[in-house]
């Protein structure tokens, strides 16, 4: 768009040189000459009043619209026309007439101020033409490049769309496959489940028998232990030495309590001990264990104690050292963990460690399980594949949803990043993604905004990109970046300016 505009400008500038001086009151453009007829009363251009012609440019403002003083500074809202032969004609505010500052390159604005102005129109015209020519060349190249990019983008887009259609077709097939495999899986899992349950139940029964036997053995042992006088009976007195059995935990096992535990009897024999055992087995501590607990001081470490003189590091030397070094670099939390033993309280060993591992499945069950596992694996794989395709479709959809310009000429910027290094910072622009800034000499990156939208004026929306919601500023809004695009041959970040620390950080001209 802008390239075409520049090309137009070239043809205009050719006509500058052809401008011819035509007599008219000072400051009047050729186009308005007919309103200023000498020796005829002048009517203000807004029609508000009519004045004698000698009051045109008499340094007094008679017309509200300033039209009677095109060549003086008398009217606050007037404008002065510089012909600028050799360059572009222009209008300047009347207030710049005879203010001692040269505004028109043909010096006509300073006719009575004593300012010594040089006519620079020809030189400016030459420079302008050169610049325009250069720009036109660049623009032409850029234009070609743009066409190329548009074509590429179009191709890419078509490809992407084609791929997406294909993937969507694939997806449907895959979806069907997933459903089919799900059914297969469910069918295979049913017998597997039943067989597993059977196996489990058999094992549970087996375990119950073993446990009962063990309990019986323990009971017998306990009976023997308790029966201190070996009279074949456990008496209340004998039981009372086991204070851990105290039901109300007041520290003393009273006679009554002991008797209650023995089922109300003063003493019990082996057979009646069975019912008493049920009352006490949960709390009962074997006398051999109770003795060792009383004698040994509580051990604070559950690791085997290591003698001081033993070269500890020889055991696990490399690991420990490396671990420590790593810890130093990261944080010393884990180091403390490994060095300081965790305080533990010695508890009586649970006697329930008798549970053996579940026996392996029988061959028949195993076959069912293997078969079911295969269906599961197949199903999972199919589902994963479907998800992958979904992701790909989403990603293509996202890319296709971006506004890459009227003809997709900005498509190639997608997923690219461009850096610019200034005296203080390295700026990074990743178009359609984010802008960031990193201090050159260390320090963390600052987010200057994520892709927001195209933000150029209505007629050239694609000249400006807006990145928003960057890191917040002190007492200010979140950072944001405006990227201005200009036509060129290559894609570079040309310059950056930071008008204020926030809001308007620009990473402007860049070209394509």
């Amino acid at each position: 768009m802008s390239c075409a505009y520049l090309l137009l400008a070239i043809s205009l500038c050719v006509s500058f040189a052809n401008a011819v001086e035509v007599q008219r009151p000072r400051g009047v453009p050729l186009s308005k000459r007919q309103f200023y007829e000498e020796n005829k009363p002048f009517t203000c251009l807004d029609g508000s009043r009519t004045i004698p012609f000698d009051r045109v440019n008499d340094d007094y403002c008679d017309c509200k619209d300033g039209s009677d003083e095109p060549g003086t500074a008398a009217c606050p809202n007037g404008s002065f026309h510089c012909t600028n032969a050799g360059y572009k004609p222009t209008f300047i505010p009347s207030s710049r007439i005879n203010d001692g500052i040269c505004d028109c390159c043909d010096t006509t604005d300073e006719y009575n101020s004593g300012a010594s102005c040089q006519n620079t129109c020809r030189e400016l015209g030459r420079q302008e033409r050169e610049t325009l020519q250069k720009q036109a060349e660049i623009a032409k190249e850029g234009f070609l490049l743009k066409q190329q990019l548009i074509n590429e983008a179009k191709k890419q887009r078509e490809e992407k769309q084609g791929k997406m259609t294909e993937m969507q077709t694939n997806r449907r097939t895959m979806e069907e496959k997933v459903e089919a495999l799900r059914t297969v899986k469910e069918v295979a899992e049913q017998p597997e489940k039943e067989a597993k349950e059977r196996h489990l139940k058999a094992w549970e029964d087996q375990k119950a028998i073993i446990r009962a036997e063990k309990d019986k053995t323990k009971m017998a042992e306990a009976f023997l232990e308790l029966d201190d006088d070996a009279d074949g009976y456990v008496s209340v007195v004998e039981l009372q030495s086991h204070t851990e059995l105290d039901p109300d935990s007041d520290g003393a096992l009273t006679e009554a309590e002991a008797q209650a535990l023995l089922g109300g009897a003063g003493k019990v024999d082996t057979s009646s001990f069975e019912s008493a055992w049920d009352n006490i087995k949960d709390k009962y501590i074997s006398e051999s264990q109770a003795d060792s607990a009383a004698v040994d001081p509580p051990v604070e470490d559950n690791r085997p104690p290591v003698p001081d003189n033993e070269p500890y590091h020889d055991d696990e030397p490399v690991d420990e050292d490396e671990e420590n070094e790593d810890d130093d670099e990261d944080d010393d939390y884990p180091e403390e963990d490994s060095d300081k033993p965790i305080p533990t309280v010695h508890t009586p060993e649970k006697s329930e460690q008798d549970e053996e591992a579940m026996p392996p499945y029988d061959a028949e069950t195993q076959t069912l399980i293997d078969a079911a596992q295969k269906t599961r694996d197949d199903f999972d794989e199919a589902e994963r594949a479907l998800r992958e395709v979904d992701d790909q479709i989403k990603s293509i959809e996202k890319e296709l949803s971006f506004d890459f310009g009227t003809s997709g000429e900005f498509t190639y910027l997608y997923s690219q990043c461009y850096d610019l290094t200034t005296s203080e910072y390295i700026y990074r622009l990743c178009p359609f993604n984010r802008v960031s800034q990193k201090p050159k000499y260390g320090g963390s990156e600052t987010n200057l905004g994520s892709w927001g939208s195209w933000a150029g004026p209505v007629d050239s929306k694609y000249m400006v990109m807006k990145y928003e919601h960057g890191t917040g500023c002190w007492q200010g809004p979140n950072r944001s970046t405006t990227v201005k695009l200009i036509c060129g041959k290559e894609t570079v970040v040309i310059s950056t300016s930071e008008p204020s620390r926030s809001l308007e950080r620009r990473t402007p001209p860049r070209g394509y």
Binding site: D59, Y60, R96, I101, Q475, G476, S497, S500
Partner: protein, 922 residues
């Protein structure tokens, strides 16, 4: 009328300001950084002394009267320490009261350099004398000074009326210098006793040994300790104003124009401090201090100037007094300072203008700024580099908004080394300045008084080698933390240091500087980031004196030396322009001040009026607030309203904090750009009037921006008005300072006066409260009937571009059909006006004749400016208008008349602005 409207007015105001205050709590000043009176040992000690019987007695037998002064000893009956009282009757209806120790252990600090000269005296004569006291005559009229002996007290009376009483509440306290008890050697003690005995009069009782109180010999605030080697040295004195309800002055505080009673709160504090995000309506100290208080009643205006540069607290209370049988209100004022002596100037008025002249005769008048300095200033922390400066400069032209000065804050320097430029961002300062000069514009760079300690930095090296740095208590160079990091603070109290500093502004010293570069002194309280209360340790040393003694003078001296530098670099030809943040009495002589780091809040916009009015009352006319607010970001409405208010305040500069979004006038859409453009243009059209006001401020000390009561001293309804103000006596401004305002109520003063809306020319009667509906482009401004104001209506890029432009005279006719005004013209930037190179015209309109006559026949100046138009407000349509020039030539002038507004415009008289002429309306 006023009274009826006022409550409604105030309610609206309250509701609108409440919200911002609530929201801003987290950002407000950290009060704990600054002392309360309770935390300031001497203030607490002094404030603990309650009114009552004074221990001081005048020893009348010691009275000595010479041509110029009266001296008299006072004795404190508790500790037998004698004081010396000196009384002077000064020319211009002033009385000076000085009290010092009769024989201090070592000299006490007396403030130098603030008074422009030794105030000329007039003879005092004793009218009556007995054992109870002495009556002195203060001139020919009925004014008397009465000295009462027991207890000591001074009363200034006018006929039967007591104007002012001193020590009537017995709050004179003079902590005499003493030896530290624990360090006294035996011989010292003996000598001490001998001395005491020697001094003791006959028959006097034993001296009561005073108990040391905590904080007398050492004081700690937060982590900072003050070693106080001299012990307690504070002073205090009370003043009572019978019949007075309104007192003003003692800036700088972000508080109301009319001072409030400090009972139940802290006193107003005068101690120059860099207060981060200051709070409104608070007696806390700010950046500057002018220890001058004005009292005003319908009968008389008076002033008290407490010449002391140490930390000072001012308590104000009101009570009732009985005078002449009827009960009257009374205002009691008590001054407390940490060190130095009591040196008080009582300015007896009687009119406001008299007090201004009296004070000006003591401390000088406002410096006459270059005309451009009265135009618009564009500032921000920071314009990033030369390209940025150019872009902003071009922006003003592109949007056709005039400006005269662009400012560079600290970032322009090479690592906060003042007098240098950042080598990357401002590599070609002369080129940049030349570009501005080509557009007839100027620049200001910041030069702060903290000097980076860096052996490779010329300024530091020289100050250090010359021994010009302030010393710490142990004798080494004092170092503190500021923008550059570790910094030294030059001792500006030394004349040699100031002379050297001034020489640094020479074009060959300040590299890259040019004649269109001017200076801004910031952080000169001085600000010390890691010092107590963000300033310097009080036990730091300025030669023989402690920083404690001179603190409030530091900024004054910095600006003095800088202004001297700008004068010297031009060989004494060009007027300087220097902006300062810290100031003291007399700072008006060296340039402009601004109200420091305000915030983009409506409350701060509103507060800019009383803050600048208070400064104007004490001589500092060239005052402004950062337009837009320094901290935070204004919404477009606030920014526009601030431009509109700022355009009618003396120092008109937009400024913003580094972390705020950019806010050049064109960044808020075309409508707001147009509104700001219009406000700035109004300023430029009025520059001739501003210039004339500053010429008068310079010549006479009358404030440029005035409270209404100054011109209407008998109209009690004006006494507390602080939402509108007068420029000179002819323009009344009521800025819109409320968000979403649909109208303002302006008080138009003066029974029988008329006021003309300067935008619509509509006539309004005086002595009324006028409701003015407003829109976003309204700036309610009225011209007083009876005045003639000159404008330049061809607004250009900068004021210098308008130098030769013609004038339009606005003749606003009063009820008597007359008007008068002045027109002052000179070259706008040199001291040649002192050599009579100026035009000063009197413009009068009476009996249908407008004439221009020479007010200063001895002066000589020629101007290219002429009179392009004369606008009359409030006249009837004439049949003819005839111009008669000096040669007696007569010519008819064309005119237009609008009956609806009684507006008459005369077309193009075309006479030179410096010529004699008359225009007759028939």
């Amino acid at each position: 009328m006023r009274n009826m409207a006022a409550p409604i007015d105030r309610m609206g105001l309250l509701l609108l300001t409440l919200l911002p205050v609530l929201f801003s709590i987290s950002d407000a000043v950290d009060r704990s950084n600054f002392k309360t009176c309770e935390q300031s040992a001497f203030c607490k000690r002094q404030r603990d002394v309650k009114p009552g019987q004074s221990p001081y007695r005048a020893l009348l037998e010691t009275l000595e009267l010479s041509d110029t002064r009266l001296t008299l000893q006072l004795i404190n009956d508790n500790n037998k320490v004698r004081l010396l009282l000196e009384l002077y009757r000064l020319q211009g209806n002033m009385t000076r009261v000085k009290i010092n120790e009769l024989k201090p252990l070592k000299p006490r600090y007396e403030v130098p350099d603030v008074l422009v000269k030794d105030p000329p005296t007039e003879p005092l004569s004793v009218l009556n004398r007995d054992e109870n006291g002495v009556v002195l005559s203060l001139g020919a009229d009925s004014q008397r000074l009465i000295i009462s002996a027991r207890p000591f007290r001074l009363d200034i009376v006018d006929g039967p009326n007591v104007l002012l009483s001193i020590n009537s509440r017995g709050l004179l306290v003079f902590e005499h210098l003493r030896l530290r008890k624990d360090t006294k050697s035996e011989t010292d003690t003996e000598q001490d006793v001998e001395q005491n005995v020697a001094e003791k009069g006959e028959g006097e009782e034993e001296v009561k040994e005073e108990e040391d109180q905590p904080g007398m010999w050492e004081e700690t605030f937060k982590s900072h300790s003050d070693s106080k080697p001299n012990g307690p040295t504070s002073i205090s004195l009370d003043f009572s104003f019978p019949g007075v309800e309104h007192v003003y002055g003692i800036p700088e505080h972000a508080d109301t124009l009319k001072l409030k009673s400090t009972e139940g709160g802290d006193p107003y504090r005068l101690y120059n401090l860099d207060v981060f995000q200051y709070e409104l309506h608070n007696p806390m100290a700010l950046y500057g201090a002018v220890p001058v208080l004005l009292s005003h009643t319908t009968d008389r205006t008076m002033g008290v100037f407490w010449l002391n540069a140490a930390e000072t607290w001012v308590d104000i209370s009101s009570s009732a007094s009985v005078q002449g049988g009827s009960e009257k209100s009374q205002t009691d004022v008590r001054w407390i300072s940490e060190s130095g002596i009591i040196d008080v100037f009582v300015m007896l008025g009687p009119r406001p203008t008299d007090v201004f002249s009296q004070y000006a005769s003591l401390t000088g008048t406002q410096s006459f700024p270059p005309l451009a300095a009265l135009a618009y200033h564009q500032c921000r922390w920071n314009y990033n580099d030369q390209e940025d400066v150019k872009a902003v400069d071009d922006g003003f032209d592109e949007h056709d908004i005039p400006y005269d000065f662009i400012w560079l804050d600290i970032e322009h320097t090479d690592g906060k080394r003042y007098f240098t430029w950042d080598p990357l961002k401002f590599s070609q300062p002369r080129e940049m300045l030349q570009n501005l000069k080509d557009k007839k514009r100027k620049m200001v760079t910041i030069v702060d008084p903290h000097i980076k300690v860096d052996s490779g930095y010329k300024i530091h090296k020289e100050i250090s080698s010359k021994g010009f740095y302030i010393k710490n208590k142990d004798g080494g160079d004092y170092e503190g933390w500021c923008w550059p990091g570790n910094a030294g603070y030059p001792d500006f109290t030394k004349p040699e240091m100031r002379a050297w500093w001034a020489s640094m502004f020479a074009y060959d010293q300040y590299e890259g500087s040019m004649e269109n570069l001017y200076t801004w002194n910031d952080m000169n309280e001085p600000s010390v980031f890691n010092g107590p209360e963000v300033t310097m340790h009080k036990d730091a040393l300025h030669g023989a004196w402690e920083h404690r003694d001179v603190h409030n003078l530091y900024g004054f001296y910095v600006q003095m030396a800088t202004a001297q530098g700008l004068i010297q670099r031009s060989g004494g030809v060009e007027r300087p322009f220097v902006l300062t943040r810290a100031f003291f009495a007399g700072s008006q002589r060296y340039g402009a001040v601004w109200t420091g780091d305000n915030a983009a809040e409506w409350g701060h916009l509103k507060m800019s009026i009383p803050m600048c009015l208070s400064l104007g009352l004490v001589g500092i006319s060239f005052c402004g607030a950062d337009v837009g607010g320094f901290f935070k970001s204004p919404n477009p409405e606030l920014l526009v309203r601030w431009y509109q208010a700022g355009a009618y305040q003396p120092f008109f500069r937009a400024h913003a904090h580094l972390d705020t979004p950019r806010r050049e006038p064109w960044l808020f859409g075309p409508e707001n750009t147009a509104l700001i453009r219009e406000a700035v243009r109004q300023r430029y059209t009025l520059l001739p009037y501003w210039y004339q006001l500053f010429y008068h401020a310079h010549r006479t000390g009358q404030p440029a921006m005035r409270p209404l009561w100054v011109e209407y001293p008998e109209n009690a309804a004006t006494f507390a008005i602080e939402d509108e103000f007068l420029l000179g006596k002819d323009l009344l401004v009521h800025p819109v300072t409320d968000e979403g305002s649909r109208g303002v109520t302006a008080h138009l003063p003066g029974e029988g006066e008329v006021w003309y809306d300067v935008h619509t020319y509509k006539k309004h009667q005086g002595n009324q409260n006028l409701y003015i509906p407003v829109t976003m482009n309204s700036i309610p401004v009225f011209q007083r009937g009876g005045s003639i104001i000159s404008r330049k209506e061809r607004v250009r890029r900068s004021s210098l571009c308008m130098q030769d432009d013609p004038y339009t005279l606005y003749v606003a006719v009063n009820a008597q059909g007359t008007a008068e005004g002045e027109l002052y013209i000179d070259d706008g930037h040199t001291f040649n006006y002192e050599k009579q190179q100026f035009i000063h015209r009197r413009l009068t309109f009476a009996e249908g004749e407008l004439s221009s006559s020479n007010l200063s026949p001895d002066s000589q100046f020629s101007t290219a400016s002429w009179i392009e138009k004369v606008v009359f407000m409030g006249v009837t349509k004439p049949n003819a208008a005839t111009l008669r020039t000096a040669g007696g030539l007569e010519s008819a002038l064309e005119f237009e008349f609008e009956p609806a507004t009684e507006l008459l415009s005369l077309r193009k008289p075309g006479v030179n602005a410096g010529a004699d002429w008359t225009i007759q309306l028939r």
